[in-house]
Amino acid sequence: MHLDQRRAPIYEALEEFKKARIVPFDVPGHKRGRGNKELTDFLGEKCLTVDVNSMKPLDNLCHPVSVIREAELLAADAFSAAHAFFMVNGTTSAVQAMLLSTLKKGDKIILHRSVHRSVINALILCGAVPIYVNPGIHPTLGIALGMSVKDVEEAIEKNPDAKAVLMNNPTYYGICSDVKKITELAHKKGMKVLVDEAHGTHFYFGENLPVTAMAAGADMASVSMHKSGSSLTQSSFLLCGKNVNANYVRQVINLTQTTSGSYLLLSSLDLSRRNMVLNGKEKIEAVKAMTEYARQEINQIGDYYAFSKELINKDSIYDFDITKLSVNTTETGLAGIEVYDILRDEYDIQIEFGDLGNILAYVTIGDNPKNIERLIGALSEIRRRYKKDKTGMITYEYINPIVVTTPQEAFYSETESIDLEKSAGRVCSEFVMAYPPGIPILAPGERITEEIIRRILYSKEKGCTLTGPEDMKVEKVKVIKGEL
């Protein structure tokens, strides 16, 4: 890092701005909160006084030339990127910007099936064709693995015209692919490498953690600063490597980005970047110590399996993020989603997600050992009180999607709504996913099979929230009219 990382230009400008006591005859109309007392009482006056609009001393997110520009340079420096964009429409907008600035209609992109819905949404917008790499499923844990180098190699060989490769670093569960090797492979064939680092922000600031996208030479990365980086929800960074035309990327971002970028979000990104650079190393060490301790204790309870680096196989599990506290619950006879619900409903503990066989507790620089003890204590109690026979439980198995047409074409086709249970053989025109973690069971343009229908019904029965379809109860599903 070359710049003075103690600076936080957006935050500093807002502090100056407050002192100047400027009379507001601009938007927002709450005028520093005075027009909305209830909201001000709820959120606090300090918060409302900096909920302001773009103006000369505060720069403009759509076309940054002063303090936002400086903050972008500091962020790029902090992440060892050639350019960093402040994103205020969520990491979803960063993912969309990556895809929309790299792909055009009909272009192919090689990707892992367990991508976030935002990736497939971006494909609907740009009309690109997904080439899925079988992610492989861990035989006992039932979780999707990373991309194996061999599978990517094969996909590249079969699709030499593909324009890009997209990976997660890490997956929700903490699994990393060999980002460096895959990047080299893709670059050799002139493909761009895009990395969804929604769950990897801390890799840039801690020690002995998996390699970051930027360090591995990737072209673009979307980084959820609001997750392990602790900025406000919806704030995020988009990072670009040296071979990316940042000015073009900005144009793409501006296609869909708000013209009233929130200064609450912008300043939270600025301060979080500073905090992570200045204090991240030490704080992430504490996080690692907490998760290592928790894993050890949870594994002593019995039946639970809090997994970690022992899974590494140097290929589809190239590395593991030990700050993720992922626990397999299968041996307790409880689905992960059941443990997830009991933790919240009976123990007042909200974890990140539960799927069919696992739960994930997100542990960050905001946690303390006291709460870790509560989580361990509650898991121990849940096993004592609810443990049951595990027969009849199904774990997640990968269902190879049959892509019949592009997500964009399917989404905009003539469609009809039919009963889910009678939909086998038809081509779906919408998403079906279990949320969380929001990985599609069906994406637009894919053929529905009996196996997929069974999966959806089982997820429903176990209490997963199913989202995507127009029919909120997911009894009906929209399919493309006619034979395909």
């Binding site: 007042d348 050992p369 003890e373 361990i376 204590g377 509650a378 121990s380 109690e381």
Partner: protein
């Protein structure tokens, strides 16, 4: 000299005690610890500015949290005490010859050291050979035990700060597991009077009811605690706190008390109507 200690009991109510001397002030890993000497209440201990005990009224709390379960359970040999860094509960427990082992789990070693030095009236039995002290998180300690204790006394601070984990369902459930099949758990149960305390009280009660087959609440009058009206929880796997009271047996032990008696024991479980209603609501 006009030096006053004051503590907010609600945003709009406070208790003030005139102080003669500030004897100790220190910051541990967990909290700020102070000891004062006052004209009216003798010495008193505060944690993070909250009153924990005064020499003048501590006997009420310590007698009520100890002798109530001891007069019900016929054969207490192994006791777990969570918190209790001031030593008051230990002092009362050591009066029973039948008790063979006392495990005390206090998160903050500095509290014990400060009490030994400044509050000898409560911290007077830390050298009892039956006592073992563990300096660690109570929630963590109790998690490791199954079918081990006859009695668990939860002498916690309020449900915010270091004591927070001791008001949770996972803690009460772990206590249930650590108790023998006829075990009893008694806990500091907050107050029903001011809204904030009452919320915590109801929440704790709900969590205990979910964890134990028998769960009753009893009361005492403690002048320096918010509103003076304080509650204790009696949770049990087998014994009912009043139906199984062994009054004669207990009286034969000849333990001299200032507040507790077997008559008062029965009365303490008869609660004001508004408290009964609150408890019913949370059950």
């Amino acid at each position: 000299m006009d030096l006053w200690f004051s503590e907010h009991h609600t945003k709009n109510v406070r208790l003030q005690i005139k102080v003669n001397k500030h004897l100790f002030s220190g910051e541990s890993e967990y909290q700020r610890i102070d000891v004062f000497e006052s004209y009216e209440f003798g010495r008193f201990l505060t944690l993070d500015g909250y009153m924990m005990l005064t020499e003048k009224d501590e006997f009420i709390y310590h007698e009520m949290i100890t002798h109530v379960p001891m007069a019900v359970h016929p054969n207490v040999e192994k006791v777990l005490v969570i918190g209790a860094g001031d030593g008051g509960v230990i002092r009362e427990l050591t009066r029973y010859d039948t008790i063979k082992e006392i495990d005390m789990v206090e998160i903050d070693e500095m509290v014990v050291e400060v009490c030994k030095q400044y509050l000898p009236k409560t911290a007077c039995k830390f050298d009892d050979p039956r006592l073992r002290i563990y300096y660690q998180d109570g929630l963590k300690f109790v998690r490791k035990y199954v079918d081990t204790y006859d009695l668990i006394i939860v002498d916690s601070t309020d449900p915010f700060g270091p004591g927070e984990g001791l008001f949770t369902r996972e803690f009460y459930g772990n206590c249930y597991k650590a108790l023998k099949s006829d075990g009893i758990m008694v806990n500091q149960h907050e107050s029903p009077f001011y809204d904030g305390d009452a919320m915590a009280m109801k929440r704790a009660h709900k969590r205990i009811v979910e964890s134990f087959p028998i769960s009753r609440v009893y009361q005492a009058h403690i002048p320096t605690y918010p509103s003076g009206h304080w509650l204790f929880g009696f949770a049990s796997k087998k014994y009912h706190p009043v139906a199984h009271l062994r009054a004669e047996e207990w009286n034969r032990l000849g333990i001299k008390t200032k507040y507790y008696s077997t008559n008062l024991h029965k009365g303490a479980f008869y609660l004001p109507v508004y408290v009964e209603e609150m408890l019913r609501e949370s059950e």
